[in-house]
Symmetry: C2
Subunit: 151 residues, 2 copies
DNA sequence: AGTTTCTGTCAACTACTGCGGATGAAAAGG
DNA sequence: CCTTTTCATCCGCAGTAGTTGACAGAAACT
């Protein structure tokens, strides 16, 4: 069917890649779609394939079912609306920024699932982190060796 | 795989029938799934079939795709999360009660799309409507002749 | 009465979501 | 160096989301 794409189903790819980047800030250690799919399966008990994950991330498929939406939302710890509600996405992205800035595995997953802080609170927290980083004369995030993982 | 149904996809049938009942309070004038599907198609430009609508309302199918979710949410004027987020559903249902109580086509669709009032505000509005109804000695809603429709 | 329209329901079909299994390239590890 | 693992990408298939077209019963109309 050649139905013009409904607005809801437009930005899945961007949202998904943003989540992946947020969960694995260090590009060097970031797993491929194969390993990622396996992790999702183990952690959520749901089923998702590496191929489909890639198709979603590259925008080749975008009209997913509620079940797959739930699996993804469950794994990344975001509300399902994140994938199509701009307002929710904006707030969550703020939290992701904070989590990335803190660069600690435990705090990161906590923050991703918190969903309780206002954008203003998150903004000031981000500013505090920036200030602390400047005082300690740290390089801009990106080339700092990542932590060794461990659930 | 026999994956147990994810929690997200459980109450679609109830939500859908609730929406239909809210939009057409008078059972006598309520259209069947055939006419309803046609209305949805005309109003939203999306595609949905009468049979599928029935399958959803009776719980025979429940794992719909984002595109169909968008069509339904668009037609009924509710946020897409209504179908799987209990918190949103509760708030919207309050609005639907109010709209049904007022029994005016225009106000009804307006209220369905408002999404701005708190549950407390809606509660007091509902109480006011009840009080007004009692003072006017109206019969309990249900057998009042419905308005003649018109977009 | 008969006829026409609408209802819910089902079975057969189509189309696309979602997956397994290739492929070659590039790391990693020996 | 070679071998093994992991990567992105593709092709084709299975299963199911979603449609079409039928059916009989119940209204509504004449």
């Amino acid at each position: 069917m050649v139905t013009g794409p409904r607005p809801l189903v437009r930005q899945i790819d961007q949202r998904l890649t943003a989540l992946i980047a947020a969960l694995y800030p260090d590009e060097r250690k970031r797993p491929g779609f194969g390993r990622l799919a396996q992790e999702i399966r183990e952690k959520t008990g749901g089923t998702i394939s590496a191929t489909y994950l890639w198709e979603l991330a590259t925008g080749k498929k975008r009209n997913l079912t509620l079940e797959q939406l739930d699996v993804l939302a469950d794994f990344f710890g975001v509300p399902p609306e994140y994938f199509f509600n701009d307002q929710v996405a904006e707030r969550v992205d703020k939290q992701l920024q904070l989590a990335t800035a803190l660069r600690d595995q435990r705090i990161r997953s906590l923050a991703m699932r918190a969903e309780g802080l206002s954008p203003e609170a998150l903004d000031s927290l981000l500013k505090m982190v920036d200030a602390a980083r400047a005082m300690q004369d740290l390089r801009p995030m990106g080339d700092i060796p990542a932590d060794s993982d461990g659930e």
